[in-house]
């Protein structure tokens, strides 16, 4: 197990290095010129030249990368060309939003998907299973930019139960905080519910065909008892792997929901920075998001390894 963890940690560092190089290069392939954004329409060739020098953008790419990565390793991710806000400060605002969105949305997704899958697996191909499976198809095909406005219209505009936009930090009160994240979390959870339900249902049904289940039934145990006590754990590996991937991708992939609800999370800020050619902000955000993705998946792999020895041996 220790060797496995060390191997994965080495892989993690190598991947992080590759990510840093790729992020740096991709950002420099973006069309446009950051001096245009900074100087605006009133720029001149001289002003542009001076600014490029001031920003260090007139150096060679390797020199720019070395300066950037050296600063990153010292904990300095740089600052926005536009707002002068440090990337670290922007991340300190954005990351808690994403973490809370991910946690709440995943709690909702798992809390809905697991009971649904258990009930469906009890009586496969019956009316409940068929209804739930059909509904999951509908959920999968419902884009967030459609689900979001519909829920806003119902719960924010008409019921006025929750705000339509914005994020209230925990320091603003737990109630207000939860009110501000519940709607975007539900929108994010919709897709996950469908995926988790379908994965778990399929695995539960497959596991119910195993010999040890037949044995348990022969011993007189009820199917619901067997399902919860003996079948759920070995059937949840695909669900866990999928949840790990989902958590990683939601870190930046939630930007549509963040834009819709005006939540300044990592994805939203990253897109804004890309549109503004705000290089250092893009590099810093993308690097942190990519490493977070890798780390979360590393954590999910470790959990899976711990739960399922077959993965270790593979």
């Amino acid at each position: 197990m220790a060797r496995y963890v060390v191997t994965r940690l080495v892989q993690l560092f190598v991947i992080s290095f590759i990510i840093s190089v790729v992020t740096f290069l991709l950002v420099h392939l973006l069309p446009g010129d950051p001096t245009v954004v900074i100087l605006g329409p009133n720029d001149t060739p001289t002003a542009r030249h001076e600014l490029l020098q001031q920003l260090g953008l007139n150096k060679s790419l390797p020199a720019q990368y070395w300066t950037w990565i050296s600063n990153v390793l010292r904990g300095n991710l740089g600052q926005s060309f536009l707002t002068r806000q440090t990337v670290t400060n922007a991340l300190s605002v954005a990351v808690p939003i994403d973490i809370e969105l991910i946690i709440v949305s995943q709690i909702i997704a798992l809390a809905v998907a697991i009971p649904l899958a258990l009930v469906a697996a009890l009586r496969p191909n019956r009316i409940f299973d068929r209804s739930a499976t059909t509904s999951s198809f509908a959920m999968l095909s419902l884009p967030t930019f459609v689900a979001g406005p519909i829920l806003v219209l119902i719960f924010a505009v008409h019921a006025q139960a929750v705000p339509a936009t914005g994020f209230v930090r925990l320091s603003g009160g737990l109630g207000q905080n939860l009110k501000s994240v519940i709607l975007p979390s539900v929108v994010l959870a919709i897709g996950s519910i469908a995926v988790y339900y379908r994965l778990l249902r399929a695995d539960l049904i497959a596991t119910l065909q195993e010999d040890f289940v037949t044995m348990a039934r022969a011993k007189g145990m009820s199917t619901p008892y067997i399902l919860v006590r003996h079948v759920l754990r070995p059937s949840s590996f695909s669900l866990l792997a999928s949840a790990g991937l989902a958590i990683g991708s939601l870190f930046t992939g939630a930007f549509v929901v963040e834009a819709l609800f005006q939540l300044p999370g990592v994805g939203y800020q990253l897109v804004q920075a890309i549109y503004s050619n705000d290089y250092l902000m893009v590099q810093g955000m993308a690097l942190v998001a990519a490493i977070a993705f890798v780390v979360v998946n590393f954590g999910a792999d470790l959990t899976l390894t711990f739960l399922d020895p077959r993965v270790r041996r593979a």
Partner: protein, 509 residues
């Protein structure tokens, strides 16, 4: 019937409001930060300008006590109000104003606007003298723009774009870009009794629909929009009060138009530009996309403006004429007129230019529709790397403030930086612009800008479509948001081009 945004009852003190704005700014330093309409709203919250535009269109003293020219308008003496302090407690003095002016002159962003200024000096503890190299009649109007905001020395010396220190009605509490900008009442504000609110939180919400939903769900109390469909949706709802700038003719409002590059093929050919003008049906565009709010406008100036001639001679929609002109011009451009029509990545604008492309194609022009993200789009305009682009601009309080965009002196060929994006050069137009800048007589200025409008209708660097309409809509608890008065008691210019000053706002219990 009550006038929206104007309260006649005694104001209530206290409370706060949340205001939804359409964009985020990049900083609070007037010499280096870009002030779009949201930038001006933020700046009006924490800073004051030396002058402010009055409802009658004149620029009146605001932070300045007086702004007095010499006989030929080449020397301007600015007397400052005594006893005014910044949020950090430092006093407003002539030295501070001079330092602000010098920062503006040295910044590439703002230097062009004050190019005629040759000297700025403190001629007394509270007196600044500004000398220009030519009569600059609208100088007081310049002091009501970005270059007229005065920031404290502490902010200026640190070149600090994040922590504004002004003399304004509110001082900063926190600014988290893309999330909020929160301010609290300045207890030492130099205008007695103002402001009424304890605080304001601005929320930048990029989507007009999300902003509307936020207003309807009471997440925000007041919002700015320029989407005609959103304006229409809120217009007749009795839960809200709405003001628009559609009927305001003071100064120059924002215009929607298609800019043609007069320095690249084939739009460098006046026959091609005439063909495109005749092929563009502004009435139809407004019918399709104006939501009953906007109206067609085939002039640089809105109806009712003294600068708008009775007939500027702008080509009217005439498809047969357009086809004839395309056929006439085509042999000079390889047999076919091919035009790339561009806009920024905005679904609303993309739909509009697809309609324009369809109109031009009916006239026989081959059109390619391009969607570009904003940074590249601006870069293309500046460097002349475009043929036809949709643009919204020209909203100013005096037409001379648009000099840099229209002058032949700021036009150059493609591939080089030019503030005259269309690169239109016209000696008669330039002479008229100089007349408008240097003549004191209002009638002479009006005649000069009428000539400008007529020349633009002949040169056709801009294909006018409609006046850009902005609205400010508030819930019924937000009072007096369109009723700023000036220190002499006269009314100030109200909401215009997406910008307002929050000083007079108060909140009902």
């Amino acid at each position: 019937m009550a006038t929206p945004g104007v309260s006649r009852v005694s104001p209530r003190r206290g409370g706060s409001v949340t205001i939804g704005v359409n964009s985020e700014i990049n900083g609070f330093l007037p010499s280096t930060s870009h002030f779009d309409n949201s930038g001006y709203i933020y700046a009006n919250t924490v800073f004051d300008t030396l002058t402010k535009v009055a409802a009658d269109g004149t620029a009146k003293p605001y932070l300045a006590k007086s702004v007095t020219p010499n006989a030929d308008k080449t020397v301007w003496t600015i007397a400052l109000r005594p006893g005014v302090t910044f949020h950090d407690g430092s006093p407003l003095t002539a030295d501070v104003v001079v330092a602000n002016f010098r920062a503006v002159q040295q910044s590439p962003l703002t230097a062009q606007a004050v190019k005629p200024v040759t000297n700025v000096s403190a001629t007394g503890p509270l007196e600044v003298t500004v000398t220009t190299n030519e009569p600059l009649v609208p100088f007081p109007h310049y002091l009501a723009t970005q270059i007229g905001f005065v920031v404290a020395l502490a902010q200026l010396e640190r070149n600090d774009t994040q922590h504004p220190i002004g003399t304004g009605p509110f001082s900063i509490v926190s600014w988290e870009p893309n999330d909020h900008f929160t301010v609290e009442r300045n207890p030492n504000y130099w205008r007695n009794g103002l402001p009424y609110l304890d605080g304001i939180t601005y929320k930048p919400i990029a989507s007009d629909q999300s902003r509307e939903a936020s207003l309807r769900s009471k997440t925000v109390d007041l919002m700015v929009t320029r989407d005609p469909n959103v304006i229409r949706g809120l217009r007749h709802d009795t839960a809200f009060q709405q003001v628009t700038d559609l009927t305001r003719t003071v100064g120059q409002t924002d215009m929607d138009f298609i800019m043609l590059n007069t320095a690249v093929d084939p739009t460098n050919d006046i026959v091609v530009r005439q063909a495109l003008a005749h092929a563009t049906n502004a009435d139809e565009l407004v019918r399709l996309f104006g939501a009953g709010i906007a109206s067609p406008n085939l002039s640089m100036f809105p109806p009712g403006s003294p600068y708008r001639p009775a007939d500027n001679g702008y080509p009217r929609y005439d498809l047969a004429k357009a086809r004839q002109l395309v056929a006439q011009a085509a042999p000079n451009h390889g047999g076919t007129i091919k035009v790339a029509l561009g806009t920024i990545t905005d679904p609303r604008l993309l739909t509009q230019i697809q309609a324009v492309a369809n109109m031009w194609e009916q006239a026989g022009v081959q059109v390619t529709v391009n969607e570009t993200e904003q940074v590249t789009y601006i870069d293309n305009l500046i460097t002349g790397a475009f043929q036809a682009d949709t643009v919204e601009m020209f909203g100013v309080s005096d037409p001379d403030l648009n000099y840099v965009w229209l002058s032949s002196t700021t036009a150059s060929g493609p591939g080089t930086i030019a503030l005259n994006f269309a690169r239109n050069k016209d000696d008669v137009l330039e002479a008229a612009l100089q007349q408008g800048r240097t003549q004191s007589d209002p009638a002479a200025r009006a005649a000069a800008y009428q000539t400008v409008d007529k020349r633009l209708a002949q040169d056709l660097p801009y294909l006018w479509t409609s006046r850009a309409t902005w609205s400010l809509t508030g819930s019924n608890v937000v009072m007096n948001f369109d009723n700023l008065t000036l220190p002499d008691g006269s009314p100030a210019q109200g909401f215009l081009s997406g910008t307002f000053t929050p000083t007079p706002i108060w909140r009902r219990a």
